[in-house]
């Protein structure tokens, strides 16, 4: 099949199989920042934003999201212009192996867009679709708290 998608703000026409999952289509087309850890909607490494909402891209048929807005971690910020959240993860020591990190950044981005001042419980809820085996989550939660503070500070200064 062939379909059009808006990926990180750019319109893209991609080829895919009718039963293909979005994670595979994205990875086959160079969006390797979307990781594939389990293909069963459990680990969250493949998380993307679909029309601004976080979803497991392994749980989506590519064909079903044509013409939709897809945002990967690179659409949030890249090496040359990282997002506050990405810097917060780096500074808090929340990145160990980093395989799960793009998914966590996506989940955090969605959370802070909706709720710029989350409680610890709300943070934990927001990232309950992401597994991390390295950090024990402690520094990830720290990073999200710090990111929220930084974003608020930035907004206040505007």
């Amino acid at each position: 099949m062939e379909g059009t998608f808006i990926i990180n703000g750019k319109e893209k026409t991609l080829n895919f199989n009718a039963d293909e999952r979005l994670v595979i289509t994205l990875r086959n087309n160079g969006y390797t920042e979307v990781k594939n850890g389990c293909s069963e909607g459990e680990c969250g490494a493949c998380m993307i934003l679909l029309d601004e909402k976080p979803v497991h891209s392994c749980q989506i048929f590519t064909a079903s999201v044509q013409n939709k807005n897809i945002q990967t971690v690179k659409g949030i910020g890249d090496l040359y212009l990282p997002h506050i959240i990405q810097n917060a993860f780096v500074e808090a020591g929340a990145v160990q192996c980093g395989f799960c990190t793009p998914g966590f950044i996506v989940a955090t981005y969605a959370l802070l867009n909706e709720n710029p001042n989350p409680t610890e419980e709300e943070i934990k809820q927001a990232i309950n679709g992401n597994l991390c085996r390295c950090t024990g989550y402690v520094k990830i939660i720290d990073a999200i708290k710090n990111a929220a503070k930084s974003i608020q500070k930035e907004r206040a200064s505007l």
Partner: protein, 270 residues
């Protein structure tokens, strides 16, 4: 499998025509379809262009279009009825990203034993609105039991009444993100320290779900001061299959304890 054909109907009529004529399955959020073997079907009918994201509220009745996701339902119910049993059941279901994708229609059509939604819909006496061959409005229990209703028909919405009843939901899970081995839902109508009525269902049993009729009868018109909670515990006499890695006998005992605790909690709060 690569021959799978996708259809993108723009109207409900187009969609139901496709479902009736072709060897196809409706695609809502897709999460349940991914668990199925699609080799035997020819195509998928994507429902995302249909006007099924609606919410209608008239007096005490609320109706949700079947394409509402769990996240949609949670955010809509939060605004009108925080005690709603469906809200309580869905709030901790699956995880945040999955709740953005699982639709109410797909979830009812799939209705796995670990469903977080079925128990709540049953005690709410929910009506399922169908289009297609079996066009009409059917009680949820009839829909679950009568497989013929599912044929060549599309769930377009659900409807139930809002109430002032007190509610309680308990999911037996191993970690916060887990499919429950069983799910208890309770609705109590309490007035002047008397339980007028109750509705109690446990899902995930070998019968898929069981009404706790004996307990409902025991509670009916009973003053809350004279409820014997240990009795309620013993009245939970349901069979579990042992799926989801939980011992059936333990599940039965646990269901009794948690159900009795749930009722105690509601009674105390009233």
């Amino acid at each position: 499998m690569n021959n799978l054909k996708w259809y993108f109907p723009k109207t409900i009529k187009e969609a139901t025509d496709l479902i009736t004529k072709e060897k196809v399955l409706p695609h809502a959020g897709g999460t349940a379809l991914l668990l199925r073997n699609l080799e035997k079907i020819n195509g998928l009918v994507n429902l995302s262009d249909l006007p099924l994201y609606y919410t209608k509220k008239e007096d005490n009745t609320i109706e949700f279009g079947s394409m509402n996701t769990y996240a949609d339902i949670i955010s809509k119910l939060k605004k009108i009825d925080t005690e709603n049993i469906l809200l309580k059941s869905l709030q901790n279901s699956a995880d945040t990203p999955l709740r953005n994708r699982i639709t109410i229609g797909g979830s009812i059509a799939f209705a796995p034993p670990w469903s977080d939604i079925i128990g709540a819909l049953i005690v709410l006496d929910t009506k399922i609105i169908l289009s297609g061959k079996n066009e009409g409005v059917f009680p949820i229990e009839e829909y679950l039991k009568n497989n013929k209703l599912k044929q060549d028909s599309l769930i377009t919405g659900i409807r139930f009444n809002l109430s002032k009843w007190k509610t309680f939901s308990y999911r037996n899970i191993r970690t916060k993100k887990d499919m429950p081995a069983f799910h208890i839902v309770v609705m109590l109508q309490i007035e002047n320290d008397i339980i007028l009525e109750s509705k109690i269902v446990i899902t995930g049993t070998v019968n898929r779900y069981d009404w706790m009729k004996e307990i409902e009868n025991y509670l009916k018109s009973r003053e809350i001061d004279i409820i014997e909670f240990s009795k309620i515990e013993e009245m939970v006499d349901v069979k579990f299959s042992g799926k989801r890695f939980t011992d059936p006998e333990y599940s039965r005992k646990l269901a009794g304890i948690e159900l009795s605790r749930g009722i105690k909690k509601l009674v105390r709060e009233s």
